[in-house]
């Protein structure tokens, strides 16, 4: 029983790492552009499939393919922002929301067109789980958590040590004030897309490593990612990490009671409770 709880918590940390990476970008974008980016899950999907193209098409090792995919995903996100979202930024935020739902669909149909609807994997090799004090862990799961930790550390250094990072946090806190003190908001917006998309691509690749690749994989994890961002408080990247871990661990632990297919429902329930108790999230200022 205790062992099972620990085992599921470990799985939850793996899932939480993936959700966190998605939620950080979503939370930053939400904080800076003031709209819920519904295509974020599908950016994850595109990233995962770009890496697949690197692995199966070019025969690259997964880390090199991932670097390529991050480049591709970032380029795509900035392109979409500059051609579409930028033109709509003057209108109501909710128009941007609709546009992003459209982008989600466009990205998913592209993935489905190029790679087909069937599930795929990065490698057919059999994963031998490592046993550690009675806990089973696959090497890929260790890689996912390690990768997520490295990315979060880089993000932390970027947000606290660089001018752009500080400007980004300032803008997420108060966009009007940021503009008044002379922050180049358009530049910050582009940087936000770069970071959000890079983390989303990483999350997508990790998700593909942990399970399989599917054109709907990103869409189906979007709800937990949103739940994590809301749990942590919108616009709070560190909150998103905590939110992601809470959602991930709670989802895995719930499988002791509910069938595993209802994991997204757990994320949703957590989100609803949060909205009822403290709508600004764990790390947001109370109203």
């Amino acid at each position: 029983m205790v062992l099972e709880i620990i085992q599921l918590t470990v799985y939850g940390i793996v899932l939480g790492s993936i959700i966190s990476l998605g939620a950080i970008g979503l939370s930053l974008l939400y904080g800076i552009l003031r709209f819920a980016h519904f295509a974020h899950g599908d950016v994850m999907t595109v990233g995962a499939y770009l890496a697949l193209a690197g692995v199966t098409g070019l025969g690259l090792p997964i880390w090199a393919a991932s670097a390529l995919a991050v480049g591709g995903g970032v380029g795509l996100a900035v392109l979409i922002d500059q051609t579409l979202y930028r033109r709509l930024r003057r209108t109501a935020p909710v128009i941007l929301l609709i546009a992003s739902v459209g982008i989600a669909l466009i990205l998913r149909s592209l993935v489905q067109f190029v790679w087909g609807p069937d599930t795929q994997v990065y490698t057919q090799e059999l994963q031998m789980p490592v046993r550690l004090l009675g806990i089973r862990l696959k090497p890929t799961q260790l890689q996912i958590v390690a990768g997520a930790v490295i990315l979060v550390v880089i993000l932390h250094l970027f947000l606290t040590r660089t001018r752009t990072g500080k400007a980004m946090r300032a803008m997420a806190d108060n966009p009007e004030l940021a503009r008044i003190v002379g922050i180049d908001t358009e530049l910050v917006v582009v940087w936000t897309w770069v970071i959000g998309a890079a983390l989303a691509v990483a999350a997508g690749i990790f998700l593909g490593m942990d399970t399989r690749l599917q054109p709907t994989m990103g869409w189906h994890i979007l709800l937990p990612v949103f739940a994590a961002a809301i749990l942590g408080g919108i616009g709070k990247p560190y909150g998103a990490i905590v939110g992601g871990m809470v959602v991930g661990i709670a989802s895995e632990l719930s499988t002791m009671v509910f069938p595993p297919v209802y994991k997204p429902a757990v994320a949703f329930a957590l989100m609803v409770v949060m909205l009822l108790v403290r709508p600004t999230g764990l790390f947001g200022a109370p109203r």
């Binding site: 033109r87 709509l88 546009a99 466009i106 489905q112 609807p117 869409w219 809301i230 909205l275």
Partner: protein, 327 residues
């Protein structure tokens, strides 16, 4: 194709346009009138469809059923259930930021999808529920489904007339004022959360009605028919293309977009080689997505923009006086 086949095809086509028209009208109450963002249309649509399906079918082994109630009861309970679920979501999210409602509706649609797929005792899982009675089945012979079209048309006319009345009434004016500037409406002493809740529940109930009509139209429901993305997205494109805020625009959008959607499907089925059929479907979805973005960029008000005036009579009178003034 002989005349009979053509007639059957037209009836089939118009019935679907009618059902999508009801859905678009439901969304127009929420988004067009009040500015509420619902991306869980497929969920409310599915609730209406499954409720009516379960209540009206004959007994079958393996899942709940055998009530054999009349279609009217099925539709009514479906409407009530969709409305109730909307009420619960609305109570939680409507006093928060507008995007939270959007996220919550995605969540509820996703959970409904999971329940439909996995709770076999209730919904028969992926196999779906068959044998849902057609309207007035057994009263007379109807090989073309024209009775069904009449039922859909009647529902559409009733919903349209009621919504037009609602839009022109003080209630509709408050809704539009909330959409434009909520704080001003609050300053005028209106309980805006309550009005938004009414709008959300009404719209969702109409979507539930559309679901019931759909179930009795096809006689069969399965989780595949309620894919959250495709249904929800098509309705959104219909409303935005037609003109949000305008009930006639919603109907026109349903007709135009469904003609494009079904027409391209017909073309690809007829001319594309079978191995490309699934790819052709994704291309169509891609193009509809692109169409939405182009509309948002170039003509956000849609084909039939919302009228500046409360009633059509007033609009006509104003236009006449403009002409006589030589404007």
């Amino acid at each position: 194709m002989d005349l009979f086949e053509l007639f059957t095809f037209v009836v089939f086509f118009l019935s679907l346009v009618g059902i999508y028209g009801v859905l678009a009208l439901g969304l127009n109450v929420q988004w067009g009138l009040t500015g509420l963002f619902n991306i869980g249309i497929a969920g409310f649509f599915a609730i209406g469809a499954y409720t009516s399906a379960i209540l009206t079918t004959a007994d079958s082994p393996g899942y709940v059923g055998g009530f054999g109630l009349p279609m009217a009861v099925g539709l009514l309970v479906g409407i009530l259930l969709s409305g109730t679920i909307a009420l619960l979501i609305g109570l939680i999210t409507l006093n928060l930021r507008e995007d939270y409602l959007a996220i919550a509706t995605i969540g509820i649609a996703e959970i409904i999808r999971l329940v439909l797929k996995n709770e076999e005792w209730l919904t028969n899982g992926v196999r779906g529920i068959a044998g849902i009675p057609r309207p007035f089945a057994g009263w007379f012979d109807d090989p073309t489904g024209v009775t069904n079209l009449l039922v859909v048309a009647l529902a559409l006319v009733v919903v349209y007339a009621a919504l037009e009345r609602g839009r022109q009434s003080p209630w509709g004016r408050v809704m539009r004022a909330i959409r434009e500037r909520e704080i001003a409406v609050m300053a005028a002493g209106k309980n805006t959360v309550r009005f938004r809740l009414e709008s959300f529940v009404l719209g969702s109930a109409i979507m539930g009605l559309a679901g019931g009509l759909y179930a009795h139209f096809f006689g069969f429901v399965s989780p595949e028919a309620f894919d959250p993305m495709y249904t929800t997205f098509l309705i959104w494109v219909m409303l935005i293309a037609g003109g949000s805020g305008n009930n006639r625009g919603a109907l026109l959008g349903a007709l135009v977009i469904w003609t494009i959607w079904a027409g391209t499907e017909y073309l690809t089925n007829a001319f594309a080689p079978p191995e490309y059929l699934t790819r052709a479907a994704t291309v169509r979805m891609f193009l509809v997505g692109l169409l939405l973005e182009i509309i948002l960029l170039t003509r956000p008000q849609g084909l039939l923009p919302e009228s500046q005036f409360v009633t059509r009579r007033e609009e006509r009178r104003r236009r006449r006086s403009d002409i006589s003034d030589g404007k």
